[in-house]
C-alpha cells in the first residue's frame, strides 16, 4: 500500500479574507519535501483568489535557501491572484536569514504570532479605509 503523506501545512480561515497556513513541522526544511510545501500553498492560494494569507512559522527553527526560493514562488502566486502574503511567528534565527539575503524587503514579516498579526492587519485596513473616506 502506498504510504499516506501527512500534509505539511494546516489551513484555517479567519473571517472573510484572512487565511492562516501553519507550517506543521520544521521538516519542511527537508530538501525532499520543500517543493511539495510550496505546491500545497500555491494550490490553496489559486483556489482562494484575493486571500490575505498569513504563513505561520511558529514550529519552524530555520529555513534553507531552497525554502526561501519556494517562498518567493508562493509570494508570486498570491500576488498574481490579487492577494497578500504575510509571514508571522518568525524567530530571530529565521529573521536573520531573511536579512542576510535581503529578502526582508520582499515580504511582510512579523516576529509575533498569528493573533497579533491578524489584529495588526485589521487595524491597518481600518485606518486605510478611514483615510480613503476622508479623501473622498
Amino acid at each position: 500500500m502506498p504510504e499516506k503523506k501527512e500534509p505539511l501545512v494546516r489551513f484555517e480561515k479567519k473571517g472573510d479574507e484572512i487565511h492562516v497556513a501553519t507550517v506543521l513541522s520544521d521538516s519542511v526544511v527537508n530538501p525532499l519535501n520543500v517543493s511539495e510545501f510550496s505546491q500545497e500553498i500555491a494550490a490553496y492560494a489559486k483556489q482562494h483568489p484575493k486571500l490575505v494569507l498569513i504563513l505561520n512559522f511558529e514550529r519552524v527553527d530555520y529555513l534553507s535557501s531552497s525554502v526561501l526560493s519556494e517562498l518567493l514562488q508562493i509570494r508570486k502566486v498570491v500576488i498574481e491572484s490579487g492577494g497578500q502574503l504575510r509571514l508571522c511567528a518568525i524567530s530571530d534565527t529565521i529573521y536573520e536569514i531573511f536579512e542576510i539575503t535581503n529578502l526582508n524587503t520582499m515580504f511582510t514579516i512579523h516576529r509575533d504570532g498569528v493573533d497579533a498579526d491578524i489584529k495588526r492587519y485589521q487595524r491597518a485596513k481600518a485606518v486605510a479605509e478611514q483615510e480613503s473616506a476622508w479623501s473622498e
Binding site: 526544511v29 527537508n30 530538501p31 525532499l32 527553527d61 530555520y62 529555513l63 534553507s64 535557501s65 531552497s66 526561501l68 526560493s69 518567493l72 514562488q73 534565527t93 536569514i97 542576510i100 539575503t101 535581503n102 529578502l103 524587503t105 520582499m106
Partner: protein, 134 residues
Amino acid sequence: MANEIYSRTIASSFEALMPVLDDALEAMRANGCIPPGKESQTRLCLEEALVNAVRHGNHCEGDRHIHVEVLSDADRCTIKVCDEGTGFCPDAIQLPAPDTPGGRGICLIRHFMDEVRFDRENKCFVMAFKRMTA
C-alpha cells in the same frame, strides 16, 4: 593534527543526504564543534553544502557520489563536502536580486562560517568554524 570525527561517502541524492546531515551534526555536537547558540546555523550550512553538491556539483545524477568529512583540532572544526563536479569559486558568488529564486545558499554559508573555500585539488567545498578561545 586534525582528528577525523566523521566521514561518509554516499550516493548523490536528496534521500541519501538526510541521514548524513543528522549523523554529521551529532558527531560535531559530541565533539564540541558547534559554537554555542549556532546549532540551527550549522545545520543550515551543512544542508546548503550537501544540496549544492547533489544539485550543482553532481547535477542530480544518482550514480555519482558525495564524500563528507568533519575534522576537528584545537583551533577549528572543518567540514569538507566533495562531489564529482568541476568546482567553483565561492567568493565569486554574489547575492542575487531579491526577486530572483535560487543562489543564496553559498551567501548564507559565507555569512555564518569563519572560513569558506573550494579545494580544487580534491574537489572539495571546505567550510570551518574557528573554536572560541577563552
